[in-house]
């Protein structure tokens, strides 16, 4: 008996521990009037000057305001600016709105604006926006509410780069590098708490200059697993998912009476990139043959469940500079075989298993992308090209792409609104790390047009220049355009006012509210 005593004690303690565990793992009921949004990945830095990942950029859109903003149709509008002038082609003058307050109650003035852009321009600060401001010569404070930017030469994309959020100088200087961990801006929501890898909580800003948001708070909950994320939405512990529902889960959500799905044509552009320094791929006929061999419609219909539209170029049809009259590559395997024969790559055994040549195709470990790779491999096999698909962990994959260590790869450009992106992607001087010309594309005419497009300030003439660029690129095929993904929002019924923005920004959250029917 004497040995039994302590054992019972231990059992008792174990029981208590287990009970504590169970109690602590039970979830609290969600608070009322708080919107929970599921994210598939982790934001890394909420400092708008440094934010590079899509999650941080999107969350920043409701903590901060920039001098300019984009509306849901990607039109550029003034934001913190009452009005702006362009007295000479190289000078921009902004009159700031009065009475705009940071979350600590201090008013936003011209020195904050100057400080924000001065730090971005400082190369030691390593801001990803540095390139957009390389043509900036000086920033002048005219008075407390007026600020002037002077450029070295006319630079049309300049206004677009002013959507970066303005930060409070005093707080940013005091916090230093930690500013990105507890950011403070002028936006409709103010930062409350960040549990890294788990959630970010924001409260409504009662002093917001456009009025108090209708929600009390917003919580961003990180749920990396696709299945779990969909279950959380069904269960109600997450209210809204934006572009993070896997296509194969759409059916389940559509059948759910408590969930509403909103679709909108998107601008996120998926493509196949070629390495133009590769012996086989430097041949235009081979690239065109590959384009003709791909059956995009099949992939869109069966793998993407119709949630995409075939693409013709980097700019989506909703963009003001979009050019639709370009060379198109529909599924024509016969043309593809003919082009390959003409290029000198004959099929050694016709329909047989031997291939004309072998290519390696790289992708990330994203499941959907891997699956698309397997389908592409099958489609190319039908015209006699062997495609070896390899998936790599993101870091390795992206480093290889940047260093030119690939033949073919696939990626997606997200949130493109400014046609100057073409300079970053196809100008011969934009080879990484300067830009994103990863395929090492070189074309003097394109270089000249791209430079012209930057200097030209008149929108109609700019449109002509970019039309020409789009036509040449569709013919030359440094990229094969795959599709524009359709934007999909899956939300609990009873949420009103959420609008999809081109870059997936959460800007519309300040208008969002729950109607009475909310369970």
């Amino acid at each position: 008996m004497s040995r039994k005593g302590p054992l019972n004690w231990r059992l008792f303690l174990l029981g208590i521990c287990l009970l504590c565990l169970i109690v602590s793992s039970c979830q609290k009921k969600p608070e009322e009037n708080v919107l929970v949004i599921g994210l598939e990945g982790n934001p890394t830095n909420l400092d708008p000057r440094l934010a590079t990942d899509a999650y941080s950029v999107r969350i920043d859109s409701i903590i901060f305001n920039g001098l300019m903003k984009l509306d849901p149709r990607a039109n550029l509008l003034p934001n913190l600016t009452e009005k702006y002038e362009n007295p000479t082609p190289t000078t921009y003058r902004f009159y700031l709105k009065k009475g705009v307050k940071f979350h600590n109650g201090r008013e936003l003035t011209a020195p904050d604006v100057k400080y924000t852009f001065e730090t971005i321009r400082d190369p030691s600060f390593k801001s990803p926006h540095l390139n957009s401001f390389e043509k900036l010569k000086a920033i002048k404070i005219v008075d407390e509410y007026t600020i002037e930017f002077e450029l070295q030469e006319p630079f049309a994309p300049f206004l677009t780069s002013l959507v970066v959020g303005i930060i409070p100088r005093d707080i940013a200087e005091q916090e230093g590098e930690k500013f990105g961990q507890h950011p403070m801006g002028t936006g409709p929501f103010k930062f409350r708490r960040w549990v890294p890898g788990s959630r970010i909580e924001l409260d409504a800003n009662p002093d917001y200059y456009e009025g108090l948001p209708r929600l009390d708070a917003v919580v961003f909950k990180v749920v990396p697993n696709d299945t779990t994320r969909v279950f959380e939405l069904k269960k109600g512990s997450v209210h809204l998912l934006q572009n993070s529902v896997p296509p194969d889960s759409m059916d389940i959500l559509e059948e759910d009476p408590g969930i509403e799905i909103i679709r909108k044509d998107g601008i996120n552009y998926s493509y196949i990139g070629f390495n133009l320094e590769d012996k086989i791929l430097s041949n235009k006929k081979v690239r065109q043959a590959i384009a003709y061999a791909l059956n995009r419609e099949e992939i869109i219909e069966y793998l993407l469940k119709g949630l995409a539209v075939p693409a013709t170029g980097l700019l989506a049809p909703s963009n003001w500079a979009y050019e639709g009259e370009v060379a198109r590559y529909d599924y024509r395997p016969e043309t593809s075989r003919k082009l390959l024969d003409e290029a000198g790559y004959l099929d050694p055994d016709g329909e047989g298993p031997k291939s004309r040549f072998k290519l390696s195709y790289r992708t990330s470990t994203n499941r959907l992308r891997q699956r698309i790779g397997e389908v592409l491999a099958r489609q190319l096999r039908e015209v006699g090209i062997e495609l070896e698909t390899r998936s790599y962990e993101w870091g390795t994959f992206f480093a290889d792409i940047k260093s030119g260590n690939f033949q073919l790869y696939t990626l997606t450009w997200v949130g493109i609104t400014e046609p100057d992106i073409y300079y970053y992607v196809f100008h011969s001087s934009s080879v990484p790390p300067q830009g994103a010309n990863r395929g090492r594309y070189k074309n003097e005419e394109i270089d000249r047009l791209l430079e012209e497009g930057r200097r030209c300030l008149e929108q109609d003439s700019r449109k002509e220049i970019y039309s020409r660029i789009q036509k040449i690129l569709a013919e030359e095929l440094p990229y094969i355009s795959l599709w524009y993904s359709t934007n999909v929002v899956a939300q609990t019924k009873g949420i009103q006012g959420f609008e999809i923005y081109p870059g997936g920004e959460f800007t519309s959250l300040k208008e969002v509210y729950f109607t009475q029917e909310q369970p």
Partner: protein, 272 residues
């Protein structure tokens, strides 16, 4: 009772081996043949175990997937066995500094969690069949080396070993002809369990996307299916059953072999 399980195990293992060898004859379809519009097809006539996301036949993929498991199982176990046997023999026979050295190396290696080390290695070397085998061998030999050394320590002092030595036999002859044949039974048992463990480890690595690429593998199929558990549970159920079956098969067989090869048990049964 035990014997019956061992026989079941043996039968499973034999069927598994034959499946791997005759995969191209047994499989009703090419394992990579896609039928996109039939994605998630349920089990039915023509596709007994259904079709996966890309409309590939699951039965054919399981049949071909057995080849990866067999290949990884056999090569990892044989390489590990060879290494373990050599190192264990040297350490056990000579003792002293060699023994000290090898045992400390083994202690260090045992301090790593096996599957984590394998994940680490395949992540660095890149996912491929060869690298999976390599990663599993790094720790695989340790168990064999320890068993062999232990056996050597006891056998090298036995009368028959001492007398062979006294007759002037070389070390190599003593080890190869007289000691190893007498210590093989525990090693064979260990190898049988080892097969099960290695197959499971390969499936885990493939599940994490660190396995072979371009060949159907059970672990990878399981992991792909897990994504669609709610829409199409058959995608992960069948490869999961295949893994359970083969691992159980090897474990039953190992258990049976242990009983059968156990010298003590033989004595007991003779006495009774």
């Amino acid at each position: 009772m035990k014997n019956r399980f061992a026989i079941i195990g043996l039968v499973v293992v034999i069927i598994f081996a034959l499946t791997a060898i005759f995969a191209p004859i047994l499989a009703p379809y090419d394992p990579n043949q896609q039928e996109l519009r039939e994605g998630f097809g349920s089990p039915r006539q023509g596709h007994l175990l259904g079709q996966d996301r890309l409309g590939r036949d699951i039965l054919s993929r399981i049949i071909f997937g057995s080849r990866v498991s067999v290949l990884v199982g056999i090569s990892t176990v044989s390489i590990s066995l060879l290494l373990g046997l050599t190192i264990g023999s040297l350490a056990g026979y000579y003792g002293g500094a060699i023994d000290e050295l090898f045992m400390r190396v083994i202690d260090i290696l045992l301090a790593f969690p096996g599957i984590l080390l394998a994940i680490f290695m395949t992540a660095i070397l890149g996912p491929s069949l060869r690298n999976v085998i390599l990663a599993l061998c790094v720790l695989g030999w340790v168990g064999y080396a320890r068993i062999v050394r232990g056996q050597f320590l006891s056998v090298r002092e036995r009368e028959y070993t001492l007398s062979v030595k006294a007759l002037g036999a070389s070390d190599l002859r003593v080890i190869l002809r007289h000691i190893i044949p007498n210590i093989l039974s525990p090693v064979i048992v260990e190898a049988t369990f080892g097969m099960a463990a290695v197959i499971l480890a390969e499936a885990s690595l493939s599940f994490l996307g660190l396995g072979t690429q371009g060949m159907p593998s059970w672990g990878a199929m399981l992991s792909e299916g897990a994504e669609f558990l709610e829409v199409a549970p058959h995608l992960s159920t069948f490869p999961g059953c295949a893994i359970i079956l083969i691992v159980l098969g090897f474990n039953f067989l190992g258990d049976g072999l242990r009983d059968w090869l156990d010298p003590k048990k033989v004595v007991v049964s003779r006495l009774s």
